[in-house]
Subunit: 114 residues, 3 copies
Amino acid sequence: MKIPCEAELLRIFIGEKDRYKGKPLFEAIVQLAREKGMAGATVLRGMLGFGADSHMHTAKILRLSEDLPVVIEIVDQPEKIAKLLPDLDQMIEDGLVTQEKVRMTVYRNTKKKS
Amino acid sequence: MKIPCEAELLRIFIGEKDRYKGKPLFEAIVQLAREKGMAGATVLRGMLGFGADSHMHTAKILRLSEDLPVVIEIVDQPEKIAKLLPDLDQMIEDGLVTQEKVRMTVYRNTKKKS
Amino acid sequence: MKIPCEAELLRIFIGEKDRYKGKPLFEAIVQLAREKGMAGATVLRGMLGFGADSHMHTAKILRLSEDLPVVIEIVDQPEKIAKLLPDLDQMIEDGLVTQEKVRMTVYRNTKKKS
């Protein structure tokens, strides 16, 4: 059986409409994660929520808002996660980032034709 | 670079159709989180799943079920999360709540016009 | 108020199109979780992402890809989670699994007609 290794889960809570240099911020972050060789990144879209600018919403706007929250999840070794953080600091204007320790098991299909 | 602080991630697993005082439970919980001044809340909708009442489903009903699972994620300081829990105890009839320690970094755009 | 117990959160990152014995892998995993009597399982579909085979994607393919990432979340006591792992080892070809300790509170509606 596979043995898990120590890793870190990075979760980035931003708005779907947040932008960075002309493109959606969530997309820019996923591309950054790929360029830095992260094991994986997943963007989940919320159906409701509020974030950093919650003081601007009434309950009604909240429900009708088209700027839905998105969560980007990135898992990798702590050293690799650490290298992402300075860039994220520059890219995120409003948002929330969490980090936590996890055990990680990676499965790679070595049988697939390349 | 920003320094993360200790925080807690609260995750609430309920059904999309669960209700509380005439409104969707997930919406009631997000409103509660806003009223209590939490840093953020995000509702994610599952595409498949089972929960507390899993004994009632067959695999077929599971797939066709319209009561999809939702996950509400709330991050804040442990003391603030703790203040939410007694209310959640009253509101949730069937569900599952998890709490875990995370490190949190909050980004606020102070340049935005208010 | 309810007292949380120690539990484990298992998160499985795979592709929506991954298959196992003729059915979607995510569905096979949820059925396994039910058969093993897990407290709950939730499948979340990502809107964007990359995983184990990231080296095969360009940014453009990434965006257009129909094989979106899915995350399956399963929470239960560590002993029960441990019993799932050998089966997952057999089922997952490409993917990533994380485990982490959480505190869990389970709500069951005992008033519902059975």
